[in-house]
């Protein structure tokens, strides 16, 4: 079994007594080598979770382990790009890349950084760059570091569709070659859907779905048929119009194909249904359960 890139146990974070919990009771495991979409609505706790994993925030309760150690210990092996892409505004693009090389002696990959930063005007100061150009430079630094784990907070938000496709392609190529674990957050699932094979769905400060995207989808079904009791399945959402009922359920055993027209939901349908049904129970696939090694001892 491969190790965990991130493992959270009862992780919680509050920014102050009055602001409530940004994240609470989060327990999950992200296996190494996955490309994980961290999705959820605005204010769900995505950025907090990434900042905790990067070691920029200290948890208010619980713990998070990264690449087998504390976030601080793992820092040389992590690249974290926060939402606001902090760079030094007075430095030029070339200076910034030089700083990246100097700050990451031994691991810096000049070629990887240049592949991404290539189209940027090398002598321009960072403060003169557009939002999308700054994203490109920040990603060049992140990839140049040759990290084992990349934590990218809304990496594609500022990019035009062409740059988005190009940079996502370069990220995937990097992952294919180096087996890098990548976590990318977004509130737009479709942006990430094709590129990610793992999902963490955060909502209201909790992890509501976690695991291989395919397995999460396969655990659910959309049933259409005559309105009737849906037991034993767990109903995430259902609608009745006249005699017809449409329900998105989490399957508990086989579905009777004679009684229902059964289709597989899209990942997006699944997330929307969960967003509309805050009381639906959480689902973590076996690989996403935290502390299984500990339990085995």
């Amino acid at each position: 079994m491969t190790g965990a890139a991130i493992e959270a146990n009862g992780l919680g974070m509050t920014y102050g007594r009055k602001s409530g919990w940004a994240l609470r009771d989060c327990s999950f495991r992200l296996p190494a080598g996955r490309i994980c979409a961290l999705v959820g609505p605005n204010g769900a706790g995505k950025s907090t979770l990434l900042a905790l994993a990067a070691g920029l925030l200290r948890p208010s309760e619980g713990s998070v382990r990264v690449l087998g150690g504390t976030p601080g210990e793992a820092r040389p092996r992590i690249a974290y790009v926060s939402q606001d892409k902090p760079l030094y505004p007075q430095l030029t693009v070339a200076d910034t890349l030089w700083a990246g090389a100097e700050l990451n002696p031994g691991t810096w990959d000049r070629e990887a950084a240049a592949r991404i930063a290539g189209p940027l005007p090398q002598d321009a100061k960072v403060k003169a760059l557009s939002g999308g150009q700054r994203t490109r430079l920040a990603l060049a630094l992140a990839l140049g570091k040759r990290p084992e784990l990349m934590l990218l907070d809304e990496p594609m938000a500022d990019l035009d569709p062409l740059a988005r496709h190009e940079l996502m392609g370069l990220l995937m190529a990097e992952a294919a070659e180096q087996s890098t674990t990548i976590v990318m957050s977004s509130h737009i699932l479709t942006e990430l859907e094709g590129s990610c094979d793992y999902l963490l769905f955060v909502d209201g400060g909790r992890v509501r779905l976690g695991g291989e995207s395919d397995d999460i989808v396969a655990a659910h079904a959309v049933l259409t048929g005559q309105a009737r009791d849906l037991a034993p399945h767990t109903v995430v959402e259902s609608r009745t119009t006249g005699r017809q009922m449409t329900a998105l359920v989490r399957k508990e055993g086989p579905v009777d194909p004679a009684a229902w027209d059964v289709t597989e939901p899209s990942l997006e349908e699944l997330l929307l249904a969960h967003l509309r049904s805050p009381e639906a129970p959480a689902l973590l696939t076996p690989s996403a359960h935290a502390g299984q090694e500990v339990a085995a001892i």
Binding site: M172, A176, T190, G194
Partner: protein, 136 residues
């Protein structure tokens, strides 16, 4: 890198067909059309994902499936290579099968089914007939 790959894949995210299946189907189509021949190299996972921005594991899953069907083989450190072509003759031009299907389609039409009805019925039978193959 050695010789360039013989094909490239187009991924349609809105098609509703799983991405790995699109790669499998496009490879088979290329084999049927003779675009791919034995000995040809498929693009590496890196090449595919850099061009399409899909997940690397999806490419590997597609290649494993093609390998399982005996169409390609992975050679360590070299890439994935085509082993054999796909014979198309029986499927598309077998006259008796085609004649039976034509006859059946005429009967369905005579019975009052329109094109969509026939298509739905055919797909339903197709799905249930081949269901076991998909699951295994």
């Amino acid at each position: 890198m050695a010789e360039s790959a013989a094909v490239e894949f187009r991924i349609d995210r809105r098609s509703g067909v799983a991405t790995y299946l699109q790669i499998v189907q496009q490879t088979k189509q290329a084999l049927r059309l003779g675009v791919l021949e034995p000995g040809d190299r498929l693009p590496t996972a890196r090449e595919v994902v850099e061009a399409t921005a899909i997940n690397p594991n999806t490419v590997l899953k597609a290649y494993r499936e093609l390998e399982r069907e005996g169409l390609v083989e992975a050679r360590r450190g070299l890439g994935t290579f085509v082993r054999r072509t796909l014979g198309s003759a029986a499927a598309t031009t077998d006259p008796p099968l085609r004649a039976e299907l034509t006859e059946w389609t005429r009967r369905a039409r005579a019975a009052g089914l329109d094109k969509d009805d026939v298509s739905a019925l055919f797909n339903d039978v197709l799905d249930s007939t081949f269901k076991g193959d998909q699951d295994s």
